[in-house]
Amino acid sequence: MMVKEQDFSRRSSAYHVRPGGETLEALFLLAPGLILLLIFLVWPTLNAFWLSFHRENLLGTQREWVGLANYAEMLRDPAFWRAVGATFLFAAIVVPVQIFLGMVAALMVARPFPGVNFFRTLFFLTTAVPTAVAAVAWGWFLHPVGGLLNRWLEAMGLPPQPWLTSVELALPTLAIVTAWAGVGFTAILLTAGLQQIPEDLYEAARIDGASAWRQFWHITLPLLSPTLFLVALLTVLNSLTAFGQIHLLTRGGPAESTMVWVYRIYQDAFFNFRFSYASAQAVALFLVLLLLAGLQFRWFGRRVHYG
């Protein structure tokens, strides 16, 4: 990987402490953080499962144990499945687009040349753009009347498109916005990965007369694969939990076409006041994320080249 952990922590014989002798000091250093972790991370996680096995009455005041009823309802709920479908379609567009755009940027600025820092700043810039600002920028860029993109289409004699207001286009458009917002992040990680590839490999390839294209396929891609794999994993996880840009630009519409998984949870909890049903969907999302992370490590983990 990019940072190799050098483990210097061999147990030295310079001093002797009996095992467990430092437990008190450790406790002092660990206690505040540990208490916070238990209250604000562990307990809510357990509680999410607990909630998902309950159901509230109409007033939302009391909860009774219903076992797996929420999960059974979820699996029969067409709205839930539509949200799952939209979420995966969304991710299927975001991941390749974002990795491609980030890869192009990283390939251009990984090696130094005069002015490289200026271009790195521009290519990495979207990391500094908050989701809400990115969403607004695109909302205006795609505006039906004032937006530059539709102006260009008109100038080329093409009809302007209802980017965010048509049932067919809204989800892919949001996916492009999301991919754009992630380009800086992807470019930073891929640049770091590219810089780990030893320069002399390319020199040797050039002496052998390999074209730039062959160098990319036979040196860059295999040696970049661990980084690429990591970037893919992070992009998949991020795109499956997208929310902010969707809330800001389409509110799940039109006709629920951009109602993704997390938006469904938000909607069920805070508008339909069904916290336990929403919790069941959140737990299901958690399991899917865990499964994907595990699968990716099992299936791709073996094939990637760890240089």
Binding site: W43, P44, M108, P130, A134, V136, A269, A282
Partner: protein, 274 residues
């Protein structure tokens, strides 16, 4: 595929760079342009505003407490960052350098917490925060995020990679763990602390779903969800929306330009956690 003449390679490379960079930044440029347009010029064609004006900024500041939004975001982001640094440094140090029973077990526990996404905990957390009476307070926006498994993990790895001899020497001189943490480990951990600070600041500043559900009072809104509100009120005045957005963008943009190295390192380290 024929090869390009050598003298053409360089100009073409810079041309490609320039075009790509311009396309990537274009949506932000159109936003910047909209923020300098008057209501009358808003829909005028062209990337540049025909008659640049600050009207939209004046209207934005008069109608919305933009300063307050930014202050809220700043207070929250700085508090969380400071808290994350303190907790991560002390826990990371203890997990790396203090011997106690169950150390590797505890470390494994912290690593397993890395897998829990915020989307799973936010509903129970909301109910809890509501019971604490923290709705519409800074407490709700800060306290739950101060103990961050990623920060603890990163600093533990970094402190573990420092040479053991330094710690031995300090021990022989009779320093306790707190003094070693403060005088030996922390100064050497500065690059990792900087990277973690940048990463934490950025992700807290960008938080969206959580402030959206725990804040419903205009004065306590963070910049992100204030934008959502402005968008829903100013349906047609995109120049005002743009002005508010540019004002919200400025602090992170400036921080990024000034501390790009720390941000890049933070993202590289953070991405590497997997």
């Amino acid at each position: 595929m024929g090869r390009l003449p050598r003298w053409l390679e360089k100009p073409l490379f810079y041309l490609a760079l320039g075009v790509y960079a311009w396309l990537l930044v274009l949506p932000l440029l159109t936003l910047l342009s909209a923020s300098f347009r008057s209501d009358a010029d808003l829909y005028a064609p062209g990337l540049l505003p025909p008659r640049p004006t600050l009207e939209a900024y004046q209207e934005a500041i008069q109608k919305y407490p933009v300063g307050r939004y930014l202050l809220n975001s700043l207070v929250v982001s700085l508090s969380v960052t400071l808290g994350v640094l303190l907790v991560s440094a002390s826990m990371g140090y203890a997990l790396a350098r203090v011997r106690f029973i169950g150390q590797s077990l505890l470390f494994g526990f912290v690593v397993s917490l890395l897998l829990i996404p915020g989307e799973v905990t936010f509903l129970p957390l909301y109910l809890m925060v509501q019971q604490f009476g923290w709705i519409n307070t800074y407490w709700a926006l800060t306290v739950p995020f101060i103990a961050a498994p990623l920060g603890i993990f990163l600093l533990r790895q970094f402190i573990r990679s420092l040479p053991q001899d330094l710690f031995d020497a300090a021990r022989i001189d009779g320093a306790g763990h707190l003094r070693i943490l403060w005088h030996v480990a922390l100064p050497l951990t500065a690059p990792a602390l900087g990277a973690l600070a940048a990463l934490t600041f950025l992700s807290t500043w960008n938080m969206y779903l959580w402030p959206l559900v725990v804040i419903n009072n205009a004065a306590m809104q963070t910049a992100q969800i204030a934008i959502a509100r402005v968008v829903s009120v100013e349906v047609t005045s995109w120049n005002v929306v743009a002005a508010v957005s540019i004002l919200v963008l400025l602090p992170t943009l400036l921080a990024f330009l000034l501390a790009q190295r720390a941000f890049v390192r933070g993202i590289t380290l953070g991405g590497l956690k997997g």
